[in-house]
């Protein structure tokens, strides 16, 4: 009875705290400029199914993809068992679904156990790659400090979670075989779960019954506590991708990657020179700002991108400029965007719902002009991202800000602009000579 009350309190508090923080993230995302993405629903759904649910893009690198799949599958399937744990916790039962589901129950838990073992192996492999093998893309400077701790903490939580599952099931298996489990005794002598029926007797076989009850409870409570801890850690970590990958792929760009957006703010100014009857597309009285200086100048989709990033670094490891030692790192662009947005969000929380100017901005304080000007716009980062994040769109918005609002393009580019303006070519050639090649030998 007491444990049911404690559990219910934990469940309600855990869920409420998560909802509060999830709503903050939603509010932060909606600080972005409003755009409408309502087209091509079936294609969008298909993209989400393939890229987020099916993890299609992960498999361009098969080994990490497979390891990631183990953890992902274990995570998804374990949610089923969680239903029972919550039911048991609130009602005071133990393995309430076992009797009614029968063989299917044994099958499901066995399946979860096998996936948990695979996830355990994957977690160790991931910790090793990150900390011992020191894979280049997982050891770039932008990961120094909290991001590295964050990544290891999540892996440690996953590691512990699996340990708790096998403490729970392993100890219960031994108890059941002794007729001491709180699960309903069906007279079959074993719970029959694929892994714990072997692992349980091996580890706990010679332990006394009272000790096993304690271990089983530590496993059970540890498991559910870890689930709540994990859920509530999500809004503070890079790990939100497990949720946001779905909306982010759904709303991702369906057009050709080379198609950069045209600014209607500019069209409204330029087009009347060519077409006097042109009607402006945007409200002529609205303040016009070109490109993005801070996170609130980006669209909500770009901000969703930032929260969806799990810092895997595939983008950075495929960026031609980063590969050749330049400062530009597409992952850092996404991390900076999220970090600045979090800062803006906290500012709003602190000042009772309104943002008080802090004299900072995404461009300049987080992302430097040097990074922005290095980009080849080659789309390698966009291609690589397993959840369809578009770092290039942010880079382009920042470039537009630098050129159109701050007139601070590199000198050579200003030279190119004036050639283009005067000669219709990026070099200093006379437009009249454009056809000369026809007659040259």
């Amino acid at each position: 009875m007491i444990s049911a009350i404690i559990f219910s309190a934990l469940f309600i508090a855990g869920s409420a705290f998560f909802i509060v923080n999830a709503r903050k993230i939603r509010r932060n995302i909606l600080l972005g400029k409003s755009i409408s993405i309502r087209d091509n629903r079936s294609e969008r759904f298909k993209t989400m199914l393939l890229v987020a649910f099916g993890q299609k893009k992960m498999f361009s690198r098969p080994i990490p993809a497979l390891l990631h799949l183990f953890i992902y599958a274990a995570f998804v399937i374990t949610q089923i068992e969680l239903l029972e744990i919550v039911f048991d916790g609130v009602s005071g039962h133990h393995r309430a679904f076992r009797e009614s589901l029968g063989g299917f129950y044994t099958f499901m838990v066995s399946f979860i156990e096998i996936l948990s073992v695979l996830a355990f192996v994957a977690t160790i492999a991931f910790l090793t790659r990150r900390n011992i093998l020191k894979l280049a893309r997982l050891n770039k400077p932008e990961l120094n400090g909290f991001p590295r701790f964050d990544a290891n903490l999540i892996l440690a939580m996953e590691f512990l979670l699996v340990c708790f599952i096998f403490m729970m099931n392993g100890a219960d298996e031994v108890l059941y075989s002794r007729g001491e489990s709180h699960a309903m005794n069906l007279g079959d002598g074993s719970l029959g779960f694929s892994v714990s029926k072997h692992l349980g007797p091996m580890i706990y076989g010679c332990m006394p019954t009272p000790g096993l009850h304690i271990i089983e409870r530590i496993g059970w409570w540890g498991h559910i506590a870890m689930v709540f801890a994990f859920l509530n850690y999500l809004p503070f970590s890079k790990h939100l991708h497990i949720l946001l990958a779905f909306p982010n792929t759904y709303f991702s760009n369906l057009k050709a990657k080379g198609s950069f957006k045209n600014l209607f703010e500019v069209t409204d100014v330029v087009k009347p020179n060519f077409d006097p009857e042109y009607q402006p597309k945007l409200d002529p009285n609205a303040p016009v700002k070109f490109g993005a200086k801070d996170v609130t100048d980006l669209t909500w989709k770009q901000l969703l991108d930032a929260y969806s990033c799990t810092e895997c670094g595939r983008c950075t490891s495929s960026c031609p400029q980063n590969i050749t030692g330049k400062k530009l790192s597409p992952r850092k662009i996404m991390m900076d965007t999220r970090d600045r947005l979090e800062e803006v969000g906290k500012n709003i929380d602190k000042n009772k719902g309104t943002f008080v100017d802090d004299g900072k901005s995404l461009l300049g304080d987080y992302i430097t002009a040097e990074e922005i000007w290095a980009c080849n716009t080659c789309n390698a980062c966009v291609q690589e991202c397993p959840v369809n994040i578009d770092p290039l769109a942010i880079i382009m918005d920042l470039r537009q800000q630098l050129v159109l609002e701050q007139s601070s393009a590199p000198a050579e580019l200003n030279g190119m602009f004036s050639n283009l303006e005067n000669n219709g070519a990026p070099w200093q050639f006379s437009p009249a000579d454009r056809g000369n090649w026809i007659h040259e030998n």
Partner: protein
């Protein structure tokens, strides 16, 4: 090789009351850069050989605005775009072939929303089409059996998912086509895109074109085939960096076809 190129301009065609099947968009590089002009002429030789009725804009052509747009100067881009669109629409152009993936991308993807709607193909796609239709018969010629590695231009490959047309065309030459470690969707940029062609690189360990040319040279090819005049410049410089210009040539797919078949 035919000595005289037949290159009518749109204005000449109109004056004669003729309409071309296709407009050849030459691009700035193809018009002004000495190396790229050779690619332009190779494309013309192919067009002349198959007898397609085509025209160029000549002095009426102007930069598509791609480098301005990628460098963040949307005003300049749209100025160029509307000027070009008014000329193209004035001539009622329906189909365009480009010699440059950057022009190709801008005309194909960014002009429609601004009022310029055309069927746009890259020259490697047109050559593939001509071969498939039987209008262009291709032999390997001097490239037969040679080792060729193809470098994907970003604005043809990733930007527009055109990976196979240039490869299919090269394979018609009866050559040994090999792939770099990073190819197709994983291809590495030559270093020119995003207006980098027009500025010095930021501080770093290496130039991008040296990284990419080094990767291509690992395959020990006779030819690095490209489909973009800017990639051509970058890869040529990269090959020179390794002092391999005597062994490995950098050639456009159009040049391979025109040279092999003595067009």
């Amino acid at each position: 090789m035919s000595d005289t190129l037949k290159v009518p301009t749109m204005a000449e065609m109109m004056a004669n009351g003729e309409t071309p099947e296709i407009l050849f968009w030459v691009g700035c590089s193809g018009s002004f850069d000495d190396r790229a002009k050779k690619i332009t002429k190779a494309i013309v030789r192919i067009l002349n050989h198959v007898g397609i009725k085509f025209a160029v804009l000549g002095a009426e052509e102007s930069c598509t605005g791609d480098p301005a747009k990628r460098a963040g100067n949307e005003f300049l881009f749209q100025m160029q775009a509307f000027q070009n669109i008014s000329i193209l629409n004035g001539y009622q152009v329906k189909k365009i072939v480009t010699g440059c993936p950057h022009c190709f991308n801008t005309l194909k993807n960014e002009y429609p929303e601004l009022g310029g709607q055309y069927e746009v193909v890259h020259h490697t796609q047109l050559v593939q089409e001509l071969i498939n239709q039987g209008k262009l018969k291709v032999q390997g010629g001097e490239f037969k059996g040679k080792k060729i590695v193809y470098h994907d231009p970003c604005y043809l490959g990733r930007a527009n998912d055109v990976y196979e047309a240039p490869r299919e065309v090269i394979q018609k030459l009866d050559v040994a086509l090999t792939e770099m470690k990073r190819s197709r969707a994983n291809g590495l940029c030559c270093g020119a895109g995003g207006a980098q062609m027009f500025k010095e690189a930021e501080k770093g360990a290496k130039e991008v074109n040296v990284e990419r040319a080094g990767e291509a040279l690992e395959e020990n090819p006779d030819v690095i085939a490209v489909g973009c005049p800017f990639c051509n410049t970058m890869m040529t410089d990269g090959v020179k960096h390794f002092n391999k210009e005597d062994k490995t040539k950098v050639l456009d797919v159009a040049e391979l076809i025109a040279t092999a078949n003595d067009l």
